[in-house]
Amino acid sequence: MRDLFTIALIWSTVRLATPLILAALGGLFSERSGIINIALEGKMLAGAFTAAAVTYAADSKLHLGAASPWIGLLAGMSAGIFIAAIYAIVCIRYKADQVVSGTAINILMIGVPGFLSGALFLSSGSTPQIPKEQLIPWAPIIIAFAMVPITWYVLYRTPFGLRLRSVGENPEAADAAGVSVSRIRYSGVLIAGALAGMGGAYLSIGQSSLFTRNMTSGRGFIALAALIFGKWRPVQTLLACLLFGFTEAVSIQMQGAIKLPAFFATLLRQTPGDDIPVQFIQMVPYLLTIIVLAGFIGSSRPPRALGIPYQKEK
């Protein structure tokens, strides 16, 4: 077991946790204001595609050199904000069901990048390779980890944070106290868009060097799971993201390093000493989320007004 905790594994955990941290903290702002964020996945996809497309264009067409990934990162965040704005208008202004419209955004964002890249790059769903020098492997990691204390401070030490939490817990009372429920909720959802967009951008122009079809492959949902596992609190959410990043790192790096214990091997009708099937490691975050949500590991209580459109009394 000792050779499990190598520097390489820790580094890989940090890298894999970064998009989760960004998206989960984004989701935290949105959910703490009372808006469910099933659409994290779609926002990440929007960010990943836009960042890759813009970085590629800035580098190869406009020859902006070292500035291109930064422009790409900003573009990815803007794409996240744009998608979040659609989601916010539908959910807040038109009081649509948040889960249903979030699902719509996710389906839409599986289609739109492919649709656009088919026309822009004459490819089916991926953007061209970006040269290694024009990637941004460090900045998003630093931003992600810095965002944890910032989120904590904003949430618990600023008037905005107080309003955000009160709108998510008891919008009637917040409204009576003169807080604009919809304005706070709009800000929460838009911040989520920016952070999830950055998380997606990191996937395409940080970890990888191009956008591929559905490249988030469920990371938006893992981020959502981490948020629930972290009980909607910044520091716990960070720990949950690191844990889920670690399980992913293990499933990638430790292929063959951990052997299947004899008991499980018999149970699974496999030979003892086989590798642990990668599928079982992949399941861990989802199983943990179900267990924690059922209240087996302390209680995980969502914000009270989560998912309920606010109807102002006339």
Binding site: V99, L268, Q279, Y286, G295
Partner: protein
Amino acid sequence: MKLLRELMFPLIAVIAAFIVGGILILIIGDDPIVAYKLLIGSALSWPDGIGYTLFYATPLIFTGLAVLVAFRCGLLNIGAEGQLYVAAFATAWVGITFVHMSAWLLLPLCFLAAIIAGGAWGAIPGVLKARFGSHEVINTIMLNFIAVALVSYFTQYHYKTPGDPIMETTEIGGGAHIARMGKFLPGFPERIPLNLAFILALVCCVLVYLFLWRTKWGYELRATGSNPTAAEYGGISIRKQIIIAMTISGSLAGMVGINEVLGYRYRYYDGFSASYGFTGIAVALLGRNHPVGVLLSAILFGMLIRGGIFVDAFTNNVTKDLVDVLQGVVILFVAAEALFRGPFGRFGLLKRSKV
């Protein structure tokens, strides 16, 4: 008049989605009229167009009904995707394990396997909600990923032909095959995979209607969905209804496995579902959570899938991703119903109807 009103709104949502799609097609430099003509033309040609449209519609009818039943009980089942994977694998497992059994015994067993496995996988979030109050949306999402990993494990490690590079199981017994429509329809070629599961889907539409609107159990389920507090006062156990609704919902989603495994590929093929579970949400919403509506909108989405392939091949820039785009926009418009009620509502075309 009531029917007109019910039809009006979904129609507006579909037209609005096509307009948004058309604008996108224009932006990427193709002619939307040409693309849409191609889409509809290829989806309605005889026999291939209609055959494949109905074949693609079949799983969507099942998942649409699954979402509908849960919705009527006030639950959102985003887990149809996981339920159908587990069920498809279960039915294939029976077909592989009892490969030499005669059709009279094997076929009912395979049907049961799909229905029971789907129902059981759907019951899990139901029980979790009834017992612990944890939200079914999160649990169904998590169970989707667990289901996919689980069946992929069994396929890879236990039921694959050794050396096969494709992630698929060995073939099921011949007794478990169900007939394709070409056997019964003169002039309808048997290479089109439309099979008896489509008829089963139609039967399920009728059964779901009868169950929900003509039986006491259906009434209790709907009462729980429309007003849980009143239902509880009326002596209905909400917890029981939640579990029942999720189990039925899962069983319906599970029947996708019958179409896929017993009627089409005759084996379990890993990752076969083109998001049928998620499209089911669109189908149910667009169909106003009524079996007839589900049937109609499943056929519409079946047309889109079929036509999308042709648009992809025969236009310069438009890819089959257009289908996902249209689907997403339709759900968005249906969800934001109030968007339309403003300008149109004044004319009394769109009165609020309880979903």
